[in-house]
Homo-oligomer: 273 residues x 2
Amino acid sequence: MTTTFTQSLAAAWQKNDSLLCVGLDPEPTKFPAHLQGRPDAIFEFCKGIVDATADLVCCFKPQIAYFAAHRAEDQLEALIAHIHERHPGIPVILDAKRGDIGSTAEQYAIEAFERFQADAITASPYMGRDSVTPYLAYPDKGVILLCRTSNPGGSDLQFLDVGNGERLFERVAKLVATEWNTTGQCALVVGATFPAEIARVRSIVGDLPLLVPGIGAQGGDIQATVEAGKTAGGTGLMISSSRAILYAGKDENFATASHQVAQETRNAINRYR
Amino acid sequence: MTTTFTQSLAAAWQKNDSLLCVGLDPEPTKFPAHLQGRPDAIFEFCKGIVDATADLVCCFKPQIAYFAAHRAEDQLEALIAHIHERHPGIPVILDAKRGDIGSTAEQYAIEAFERFQADAITASPYMGRDSVTPYLAYPDKGVILLCRTSNPGGSDLQFLDVGNGERLFERVAKLVATEWNTTGQCALVVGATFPAEIARVRSIVGDLPLLVPGIGAQGGDIQATVEAGKTAGGTGLMISSSRAILYAGKDENFATASHQVAQETRNAINRYR
């Protein structure tokens, strides 16, 4: 039996007693001096973070743009292979927010699941259900759809009233939970900057996992996020922090500093579960 | 003075008397036998198509998923460099449908405009205006936002009534034309499978350029598309065809077959301008 993304996530919630997702958004100009200029600096930096935090997280989330901007797809491949080899059972979400017609989405699915060996991908719902189907053809993989995003412009479309006071992000939550998620592979992105909306999404989708970016550098409140989004069992969340953990330290001991912040964040989250 | 994407597009409409966009969606299993198995097959195939059709198009549109699925980012870089060098003045749209928060969109802009040297990128509007702003920071580049897409699931969200009968894609068209396009860098994607909706978008956005995929393999009607979408001056459209042109021939003369189909398509479009 293959383990599915959802099963791996549930196991990691338990094993590491953690709802924390560490986002891997490598910015070489912020790396410690000893890594600057190395051709494998992105891999080495992220490997340091991963090895220092793997016992504190429920998943890792590399953001592909930060690798692609530096022609570092090979380092992303190596990083995900390293996570699978050294930290088996910790799922990897490729944060790519892809979205395209079916024939093109098939190619994105090959990129994410066969080339990069990610366990789940983030995707946009704007093009509708058949833009998501090709990812679901990989039964052990997850698809995490944008619902309510943490950025200021998130309201431009997501807050539109699509009938009887229902907002677009609520419709997306309902569509995914009741129509698209026929195989239990789906999850949703809901930003931590809007706890009332996390609670609203939770009330719509039952126990569907929610990926919640926006704590840490983006300013989301941990207590409000956990209380709004947790399931009855005290899980259901992947609470993502990137910059606050990645760049906690600035010297050769950067990974130790990241471990420390990740541990504090994990524990802060656990206080409200 | 740098030439902007919009200026290049307008010049190519005139110079080649064409509204045709050739979409570059390379699928190695469909390549002619003499290219099969070559490590640079994707580049060589696309170069053959580009050189055979460059005098018949207003732009080229490589779809990045078809390159990324084959670890062929280097061939995509080489292809775009080849187009700029050998066919100056023909703009290149990177079809990537990216969409993310501002700090990540900055990385995608580096990927598209600095690494790949594309002249424009396709992007999703779901995350709102600040997810688009980083692309607009490159004043000579274009941003082409998804509005009404040609796939069956396009209606799932895009057709929702966001108030007084206005549908989501109409709101996107209005937002982009009246609020986001302050610098004249924006365009919209509107599928050829819905001519009445192309006409509706045209009535909302004035002379804003429209990228129209869906003729050829996807079955959109050329006459209806042109009549619905053209501006008063008989331009305003990038009508994209991929598979019908790319895979017109199957042997060593594949590029000649593609030239023939591209010419017929260009001329068919021109009959209705």
